[in-house]
Symmetry: C2
Subunit: 203 residues, 2 copies
């Protein structure tokens, strides 16, 4: 007894949503076509019918991950801040907050990051996202550089941006392997203290 029909788009959305649920619950390792279909209440044959293959499903899922969570986006409330230092710290706080509030999203992101290590298509997407992310820091980073030209004589904007991103990615990675042991509050306080003197000479 086949189920009722549905439009192309609704079905794809339904499947993708189920895939997201399964992926956050079981990880990408545990994401199988049959599990997704079961989660969506459909026959497993439907998944490769609407998404040509599992790879395409994964690519679509990653796009959804980028879009759905505001993950790694620099929101307007941050861009509205005038001081580059304040923006930097606000962004840092935002990302630190995500470590506890959007743990599932971070986990899934980390899963894809790992997958990107071996899958060229995924890797390309992750690189693009990483680049986008780094470039969001460009304005503030350049102002920091200009604030103390002597100290940062040999420092390029990209290099400093990479350091800032390392703060965030590194903390995410630590929180993923040890969610209880990694103290976000302590981390934020320490990072603030480290950075707090940076922008002051430019104020």
């Amino acid at each position: 007894m086949p189920g009722s029909k549905a439009g192309e788009l609704e079905r794809k959305e339904q499947i993708l949503s189920a895939a997201f649920t399964v992926a956050t619950r079981e990880g990408l390792e545990g994401l199988t076509i049959r599990r997704v279909a079961t989660e969506a209440g459909l026959s497993h044959g439907l998944v490769p019918f609407h998404f040509e293959s599992k790879d395409r499903l994964l690519a679509a899922l990653l796009d959804r991950l980028f879009a759905s969570t505001g993950a790694f986006e620099v929101g307007p409330e941050i861009l509205r801040l005038e001081s580059p230092l304040e923006r930097l710290l606000a962004l840092l706080r935002q990302e630190m907050a995500r470590l506890t509030s959007d743990r599932a999203g971070i986990q899934l992101f980390f899963d894809f990051w790992h997958m990107g290590t071996r899958h060229p298509r995924i890797r390309a997407k992750m690189r693009a996202e990483l680049k986008r992310y780094r470039e969001a820091f460009s304005p503030m980073v350049e102002q920091v550089l200009q604030a103390d030209p002597r100290r940062f004589a040999d420092v390029s904007p990209d290099g400093l941006a990479a350091v800032v991103v390392s703060f965030i990615k590194g903390s995410a990675v630590q929180s993923v392997i040890d969610p209880e042991g990694f103290d976000v509050a302590q981390f934020t306080v320490a990072a603030n203290a480290l950075l707090s003197e940076l922008g002051e000479s430019s104020a």
Copy 2:
């Protein structure tokens, strides 16, 4: 036609060595008992004979990874340095250098990190290693804190150590997804500039 016999220890070593080769070439995802046996030139039945199960093999492989590369160890040549700042920077340089010199090892470490996300035994090992790693920074980090008590009033040693580790882990993670695009030299210069003023008031 069975092959020649060998002692318990030599066989285990041979298998483990083959497993290491396969793991660095194909990733943990592509590490199968049959591939390891083929790499070692043995029948696949021998692997679960000497290592009770694949899980045990993986655990042994992780121990070997910890031991073989001097990865994440604070060597004597670093401990010999007197200034805490110098030690910190030396360690940072050492780890940055590893990103290019021991890329395979870093990749494998990252693979295990990801696996630890879902496998409790692996996770426990990774946490222990992370803790060991963080604690290696304790002496220098505490001196940094003491150098400027007002600035770091609310900062705990653990918090600051977590920040420093984030530097390193974050850069490793970036290098893993984009080995060519991540400029280690730029990163080091930027990090040095950021940290260079930290210890000076204590000197």
